[in-house]
């Protein structure tokens, strides 16, 4: 259910951090000025709120529709009614579907599904483990190869071999197709500012529009089956690769390109011999992000019959079987970690090999050959013999994991609910309710004006204009009031995300050990299907907005932590040294040196935190947040609410774009 947003990505983030210069001497003065203006805006807003409370709030009941929503419905219906006669479908969408279906089915018959004349796939578990180990070693190093072999064997022990292979097949095809488009588009966006400007809004849209909104229409276009699942996945997973590729092309030093030009290279030569090879490493990071995003879609895709682990999770959750769901979720996490580490190692390999002074280089080729031969034998065995084709274990490990999870969950639910309720009520009554009232009960034009004013003050005129456009469109969607409710929860969640992000980010940034220990859990929190942990949260906090906020925090805080940790780590050691020699204690170093100098990272973390929180709005709608998230889910489930769901989806995108532009502009201002 996770709708991940990789707006800016790790390498990008790091790039931004490195650019953060020292604060200007005048910046302090200016910031005080800006703070005063912001405070003034808020005071005016509050005063007007008390006068105008409850007027022109644009509320819309759950079942009510606007003309726009009905128009969306009609559009959807007419597409459905005409799909068999429309040439666009017959010659275009059907062809695409056919190609993708063929690709997925091919991979599935290779590793996961029984194929023609065989009760088992062409390559059994032993062969797959062999191939994965070999490839990881060939493109990465022996350590990740070991990890990959262990991870894949673990799927078998969990009793989830076939499901994992289905998920792998789908992920591989989606990533493959995504990259087929993403890398050329990314290169283009890297070369042409104009194209970059054109494509950026589309990428924003693809990443913030909740998948639920287009899942049903997608099956109209591409029918039920692997093609739709693959396309749903790649819509969401391609943007990071495009962005990162563009970024990589842009970061190739200008002199190098100029040098190639001065030697008379054609555009093609410059691209093939200079730009692409030099950005390869960063592009692999993009591939990595795409894989992660694709895995985050596994459970959603299960709603349109995508095979694999997502189905197991969904089915287990129908009967609230947290243990089984967790077991399957764990398999997704393991798959994610394996793929992440292997691609990361692959991107670093060439350089590492260059450093390691040729000692193994002479041996590498023969060893690779031997490895290939061994793999071939394993593949042959797994093709021929049953013991190598079907994983021999019954999945006892999986059962053990399930029952342990159940025990832990029950204990937590039984013993912690007192504390958690108090915490929930404190946040809800103290922070969320007043804030939400202010947003939803003010007249829409007042909120709009306040938002625009804040946009101008924080981000400058251009951000102000963007905000104005977004506010206008939000009103147009007809779900203004729900948008404001969602906005309130989103902002509260973001504040909490930043608190956690700063505490853990600083801790991780200061200690490599803590970083190493925490990172796998952070990765897990990002790929684990949210509902797996939401069931116990529901028991702890009830179906409330707070549960939704917690879900958002679990998902968004890791990103903030990672960015802030990087920011703190990038503070020059000499500056810290200077502070230490001036007699600063640890607290002073953190508050007076490391955090201020990581200000760029903090802004970026806020931006990303917000966008990630927004991407959990739909999940929030499933656990009591109501508002936009619920509109989207209901629109997905009930035909007559489709249009409203679509409008709510647009509203989420608009909120995302609005905050992205304001925070980015603000970040540029503070660091410029």
């Amino acid at each position: 259910m996770a709708a991940v947003i990789e707006k800016t990505d790790k390498p990008d983030a790091v790039g931004e951090l490195e650019k953060v210069p020292e604060p200007l001497p005048g910046a302090g003065v200016r910031r005080v000025g800006r703070g005063t203006v912001v405070a003034a805006i808020l005071v005016v807003w509050l005063v007007l709120f008390f006068v105008l409370k409850g007027k022109q709030t644009l509320t819309l009941a759950a079942a009510d529709l606007t003309d726009l929503h009905r128009w969306f419905n009609d559009l959807n219906d007419s597409i459905g009614a005409n799909r068999n006669s429309n040439p666009l479908f017959i010659y275009f969408f059907n062809e695409i579907r056919l190609v993708i279906d063929t690709l997925v089915t091919f991979i599935q018959e290779l590793i996961s599904q029984s194929s023609v004349g065989r009760p088992v796939p062409q390559i059994g578990w032993l062969g797959v483990v062999g191939i994965v180990g070999y490839l990881s070693w060939a493109v990465g190093n022996w350590r990740v190869a070991l990890l990959a072999v262990a991870g894949f064997t673990f799927f078998g022990l969990q009793g989830l071999w076939q499901e994992s292979m289905d998920t792998l097949a789908l992920t591989v095809s989606a990533v493959f197709v995504a990259l087929l488009f993403a890398i050329p588009l990314g290169v283009w966006a890297g070369l042409s500012d104009r194209f970059n400007r054109i494509i950026t809004p589309f990428l924003d849209f693809m990443q913030t529009m909740p998948t639920f909104v287009y899942l049903a229409p997608l099956t109209l276009f591409f029918l039920i089956g692997p093609a739709s699942a693959t396309i749903a996945t790649l819509i969401y997973a391609a943007p990071p690769a495009i962005r990162i590729t563009a970024h990589a092309i842009r970061s190739v030093p200008e002199t190098t390109v100029e040098a190639a030009d001065s030697l008379g290279a054609t555009r093609r030569q410059a691209l093939m011999k200079v730009l692409l090879p030099m950005s390869k490493r960063t592009v692999v990071m993009g591939v990595n992000q795409t894989i992660m995003a694709a895995l985050a879609m596994v459970t959603i895709a299960a709603l349109i019959d995508a095979p694999g682990l997502g189905k197991t999770v969904m089915q287990a959750l129908e009967s609230l079987d947290v243990g089984t769901a967790f077991n399957a979720g764990l398999a997704i996490v393991v798959l994610a970690i394996v793929l992440d580490r292997v691609t990361t190692a692959a991107s670093a390999r060439e350089e590492a090999a260059r450093r390691s002074k040729n000692r193994f280089l002479a041996w590498r080729r023969p060893l690779l050959g031997v490895g290939a031969a061994v793999t071939a034998v394993l593949v042959y065995l797994s093709h021929t013999y049953l013991w190598a084709a079907e994983f021999p274990s019954e999945g006892d490990t999986g059962s053990a994991i399930s029952s342990t999870t159940d025990t832990v969950t029950t204990w937590v639910q039984d013993n912690l609910s007192g504390i958690t309720n108090a915490f929930r009520d404190a946040i809800t009554y103290g922070l969320l309710n007043p804030f939400q009232t202010l947003l939803t009960d003010s007249p829409w034009w007042l909120v709009g004006a306040a938002l625009i004013a804040l946009g101008v003050v924080l981000g400058g005129w251009r951000a102000g204009v963007t905000t104005a456009v977004c506010v206008g469109l939000l009103v147009g969607t007809g779900v203004w009031s729900d948008s404001m409710t969602t906005l309130a929860s989103t902002l509260v969640a973001t504040v909490l995300v930043m608190l956690l992000g700063i505490v853990f980010g600083v801790w991780m940034g200061r200690s490599a050990l803590v970083d190493r220990l925490l990172r796998p859990s952070l990765d897990a929190a990002q790929v684990m299907p949210p509902f797996v942990y939401l069931v116990p949260f529901l028991a702890l906090f009830g179906a409330t907005r707070f549960t939704a906020i917690v879900a958002a925090i679990v998902y968004a805080a890791p990103v903030a932590m990672k960015i802030i940790a990087d920011g703190v780590r990038n503070v020059p050691a000499t500056t810290v040294e200077a502070a230490t020699s001036a007699g600063c204690n640890t607290w002073q170093i953190i508050t007076k040196v490391q955090l201020p100098m990581a200000r760029g990272a903090l802004t970026l973390a806020t931006n990303q935190g917000l966008i990630y929180v927004l991407s959990m709005v739909v999940v929030g709608g499933l656990v009591g947040a109501g508002a936009l998230g619920y509109d989207v889910v209901a629109g997905f489930s009930q035909g007559q609410l489709f249009g409203k769901g679509l409008a709510a989806g647009f509203a989420i995108v608009l909120l995302g774009v609005m905050f992205d532009r304001i925070t980015q502009a603000a970040a540029r201002r503070t660091s410029a």
Partner: protein, 362 residues
Amino acid sequence: MTPTQTAVPQLSSTPQDPDGTPVISVRRLWKVFGPKAEQVPESEELCGLTRRELMDRTGCTAAVRDVNFDVRKGEVFVVMGLSGSGKSTLVRCLTRLIEPTAGELVFEGEDIREADGKRLRDLRRSKFSMVFQHFGLLPHRRVVDNVAFGLEIRGMGKAERIKRALEVVELVGLSGYENSYPDQLSGGMQQRVGLARALAGDPDVLFFDEPFSALDPLIRRDMQNEVIRLHREVGKTMVFITHDLSEALKLGDRILIMRDGKMVQCGTGDELVGAPADDYVREFVKDVPRGDVLTLRWIMRPAEPDDPLDGPELGPDVVVKEATRAVLAADKPVKVVENGELLGIVGDEEILAVVAGQEGDM
């Protein structure tokens, strides 16, 4: 301030040159950045504005303004200026890495500005090459592959280009490092790779864009000597950009000084020191050890009737420093003679004035 005003004692500078056509001939060259840039060189009024005024009026920056010069075959032509003077833009305009806004750009009789993409690439592949301040090497390729890169681009076969590359690698003194990667080399060595890459294609003209600015002083000196050696050995025409006057004086046959996109003065080193065109140049050359640069031509005085004319003879282009010993050793003033004609005489007094640095302004 136009170049004609500055050309005070232009003994050997631009147009009317004795030995045939120049390799590169630049006339009224402009590069303006900004909206509607092409209007600026056309408008007499805008041409007259200072950079700042132009910026305020039109939002345009004139990086190169009305520059004229010729580069002779086989000479080292240095363009010198501080950062922002437009020298790097100028050198890029010469190969159209940056497209000039207006002016004429003739290379070996061909107007380069008229060349289409293909012709321009051909020129770059065979006639020009460039060495960059930040090297611009390809980190994923070995040294020899970097050197061979230009040849590869031309479509030369692998064996042939590697062979040629190895020759050049040897020429720049990098033997033994062919198989290293750029990031395993020091800055100076990386620039040798850049140099080798430029030489590998056997171009007619080498362009250097502040090639040694990023290097340590000692290494810089080595590299300068290396360029001098290479110039002697391969005799290429070179256009060399620098912000360092001593480098300019050391390498340059002739030097063009730029300020705010305009030429201030163009001439040999001794002309700049001996006859600065204005205060800007004067300030620049103030700290130059004059004895190292000036020739006797600059310090001689006309022979007066009571001067003894039986002292030793020296040519007018002998540098003061080298003449010092001879002049001081002689008990009579030295005659400066060119082609048997007496140009003037130099005595202890003149020499000491230069060497002691008291000879404020001539």
